[in-house]
Symmetry: C2
Subunit: 336 residues, 2 copies
């Protein structure tokens, strides 16, 4: 069955029926001009993030279910990076008429599951037809207590730079998708593919960081570590020294890089889509914060560098102790 | 200059710099992971609406500035249809790398102007590159006092159906765009083009209807009168009789239909994109409500039909007094 057979309203009905009953905060969900949400005394967080066929995903390399999970996860990651909690999702779909209805079903199944995992719910959206590829654009609303809000601005000279989990796994997963003939152990293969296709937003970790009151700035690693620490530096008016040998790398990413002959450091610095949290905290509190987040969530936290004055710029200290300028690099949607 | 020359972050900087300073309600605007907004004791309204090149607009038939105004206007119209006020806008842009930066500048100029006209502000968004056409997807947050919220559900048997302004102008404008050789008076030409290219959301009218406390249901005419009254009927569990000779038609639409030899009634019923407000009110209060809205806003309001039991379905009463079934028709994004 193709979406041209059931039409826009048929498709909207189908998706609306597939959702669980709306929660208390939803006055009006899908089926009116806008979603209506009860307000509270918290700050409202609003973000959007998009997946474009042929740019962010290849239709033959990811299932609709995985895509649904991923696009929700990357939006939740943005809310987590402010120390907040995701609440309400609007789904904007642009689809060629020939799209299989099963594709949309799978996509929604993935979105529903990922939402329910993080306590969010789908309350609205729109559908339009596309002359070409599939585009999934999500708008996610969340909330945070004003005193727990963490921004990109706020890092101070002397602060340590911390990161959750491991870096470069998503790039390793993408490399494997594009070179499926690569030989490497099954467990490693699965791990990096999962990290690329269905990343886990660090929501509990973000809340732990925010609730600790110890962090000074936070962002999620979406464009790549170098690019994202660059955003913190720019917004905080500081520079940074990152220690290459402190970057947390998984055994799996290491194995894949070896099998392919890729530069692991490039993946960790510029790969992007790791959706780890990158944050800063005063030097004397950083080890305690790392330990605390790790204990609360089970996710390892590494101290990977320090904040320096802006005039020192961004530097990468290699294992030989020599500091070299760190280019922001990372993913820029309009350059090649 | 093309967007590939300045890159995503260059483009984001450029757009962020082009905005006026954020208002009081904005804790964090553009430049962090999400926008952070102060909350209040009102309901939050959340909507999204999209413009896809080749589907909703043709790049050589609308200027970037007009497109910017239009895409904001159609989202504001959704908020107006709930009786609310627009507040915060997130802009999701998907652009081919070869897009002229001037296109984005013009688009933002239009969005900024339309926002400032309705008291809304741009607080965030994202940009991605597209293998093909341009897509502008807006996410608009608004608010409404709980007691003033108007929904699609709520119309009662016996209620009258009211509509602001005139119907079919946008279809007439589109017809002229596609047949530029059509000869008709300049003033009519300009009027229907403006109605199609830069529609005016009926925000003041929506507030007047909501504040009157007299209306039972409301929607905006985006897909076409027949389709949109169909949404009210479906959500309210009722039927409707629309009187063809009561439909408000502008002299301009009439002149264009004559010049082209088009069916004016088809335009008024199924044309869509008029962004008028369609609402219902008890029979004994409807004339008073129509008068009140017209006096407050200067926009004419017409009584065009009545709500009947669901089993009578949707009917159009022609000038000859004969009622015929009214097909929902209107614009369905996935059918032809």
């Amino acid at each position: 069955m193709r979406i041209r057979d059931i039409g826009e309203f048929g498709l909207i009905d189908r998706m609306a029926r597939s959702l669980p009953p709306p929660g208390e905060g939803v006055v009006v969900g899908i089926g009116d001009d806008v979603a209506v949400l009860r307000s509270s005394d918290r700050y409202i967080l609003a973000t959007c993030d998009i997946q474009v066929e042929g740019v962010h995903f290849l239709k033959d390399k990811i299932t609709p279910y995985q895509l649904g999970r991923k696009v929700v996860a990357i939006n939740v990651s943005d809310i987590a990076a402010m120390g907040g909690i995701p609440r309400y999702l609007l789904v904007s779909l642009v689809l060629p008429k020939e799209t299989e209805v099963e594709f949309v079903d799978g996509l929604y199944e993935g979105m529903r599951e990922e939402c329910s995992r993080w306590g969010a719910e789908i309350v609205g959206g729109n559908m339009a037809h596309s002359p070409d590829g599939i585009i999934v654009d999500l708008f996610l609303l969340g909330e945070v207590e004003p005193e727990r809000l963490l921004r990109r601005a706020g890092a101070q000279v002397g602060d340590r730079v911390l990161v959750t989990g491991t870096l470069g796994d998503s790039a390793a997963g993408l490399a494997l998708l594009l070179r499926p003939e690569t030989v490497c152990p099954e467990a490693h293969h699965e791990f990096v593919l999962r990290r690329h296709l269905t990343p886990t937003p660090r929501l509990a970790e973000g809340r732990a960081v925010a609730c600790s009151g110890l962090a000074t700035a936070m962002i999620d690693v979406s464009d790549g570590l170098a690019s994202d620490i660059g955003h913190i530096c720019e917004m905080s008016g500081v520079g940074v020294r990152i220690r290459a040998d402190a970057l947390p790398i998984s055994d799996a990413a290491r194995a894949v890089a070896e099998a392919i002959g890729a530069d692991l450091l490039e993946w960790a610095l510029f790969g992007g889509e790791d959706y780890e949290l990158l944050f800063t905290a005063p030097a004397d509190r950083a080890p305690e914060l790392a330990r605390q987040v790790q204990e609360e969530t089970g996710t390892p936290v590494s101290i990977i560098g320090e904040i320096v004055p802006a005039q020192e710029g961004m530097a990468l200290v290699r294992a030989d102790g020599v500091a070299r300028p760190l280019r922001k690099g990372g993913w820029d949607h309009f350059r090649e």
